[in-house]
Symmetry: D2
Subunit: 134 residues, 4 copies
């Protein structure tokens, strides 16, 4: 569970959070999620693993406003050793779901080739499999 | 067809365009598209129509780099009088598809109620229907 | 004292935080500062006070990196009843000053006219004067 | 002279361009300026020159609005072989000055050491000196 306070610079002339920022909040939540499960970006980069975003999607349910606190929940929805699919649920302070999203990621080595996760990073592979929502 | 030059401030530490910016380029292309078909945002706002984003999705095919020129093509993929679905295709200078995306929009009046497009804005309604890709 | 964690989307292709983000962090710190002294933005807006930015300046001392925690200190450096001048000092986790900045603000009513702070909001005026660094 | 159209995502809840974006527009104008004088970023990076921002400052004169076209003029105000100082003037379509700014830059090699411009890149050094506003 990650937390984001809506910043003034994230609002637009409609008076609400600009929709592009939710994509950034998904990244914030993903970064924290990986940190919590013991595989933060710094560690991945040291190991020479880069994890580009293959796709994102976002459904906007309820507008959010300057200074609101948003809670972001991250779940692994698919992982078979090559690609990682995540789902996000964002709630405002009233507990209303304001936005849901998904993202898909690859794991590449510094030459841009897919990492064989199970063989090369069995512990990371195991962690991801164990967290896959059933 | 809209054009965007990748800015230095749009890159990230991976050396490529940060994925959140494509969502913004879709907005840029959408704004230009509405202008070209004679119904720009200024006109819509004067009429008291707001058009919130209901959802976005983006598939990243090929990274883009600082100072590259990106061409963005917009198409109407669905419109039956209430919601508008758009599809985007972005190409780099070599003509490669770097990203495809979609977005969905509502048309609301200033009270936040759906606009009855056909009855209230028949000319706009007609234009959107005529541009629906078949 | 306000805190900001450098986000991945705030880095650029040089591998460091893009310089434009520090201007945003100054806003974050300013928003928290006003909240702490009991005059948050929500309260000001309710009272019909808007506080546009008249100028900003920023000196970059040391680069900052993804996932670093930055502490931001805000001080009032000038206030005589019309304009508010603030100074910012940002430190990384080692306690090094990474950036210093300043900003200047007006207080306007909803008609865009300067608010006579002392007469109309004596309590706010008093608070600002009392916090003026001597 | 560089041009920028205010984007929807650059506005904030006050209905105007968020002040942090002008810092980005200064970068856009700087990038174009260096390109026009024959020393674009790509060329500098090939030569192993990086040019970090040492400081920026911005004075906001008149708000700007979504879809306005802003013209940005760049001038060299100081250059003696080590640091480059630039000044920016931004005008709206009515020709009003909306914002003025300054920025200061160093030229470093890939080891982070100052480049001896006159000795190592005499042609670039000469160009910068010749454009220094007198």
């Amino acid at each position: 569970m990650s937390e984001h306070t809506v910043q003034y610079y994230e609002t637009d002339k409609m008076g609400v959070t600009h929709h592009s920022n939710y994509i950034r909040w998904m990244e914030e939540a993903r970064v924290e999620f990986l940190k919590k499960i013991g595989w933060d970006y710094a560690k991945l980069e040291e190991l020479g693993i880069v994890s580009p975003v293959l796709s994102v999607a976002c459904e906007y349910k309820i507008p959010t406003y300057f200074s609101e606190q948003i809670l972001i929940d991250v779940k692994i929805t698919d992982y078979k050793g090559v690609k990682l699919s995540l789902a996000y649920e964002m709630k405002n302070e009233k507990g209303e779901v304001v936005c849901t999203g998904t993202s898909k990621h690859a794991f590449l080595n510094t030459q841009g080739r897919p990492v064989r996760m199970k063989q090369e990073y069995p512990a990371f592979d195991e962690t991801l499999r164990s967290l896959l929502s059933s």
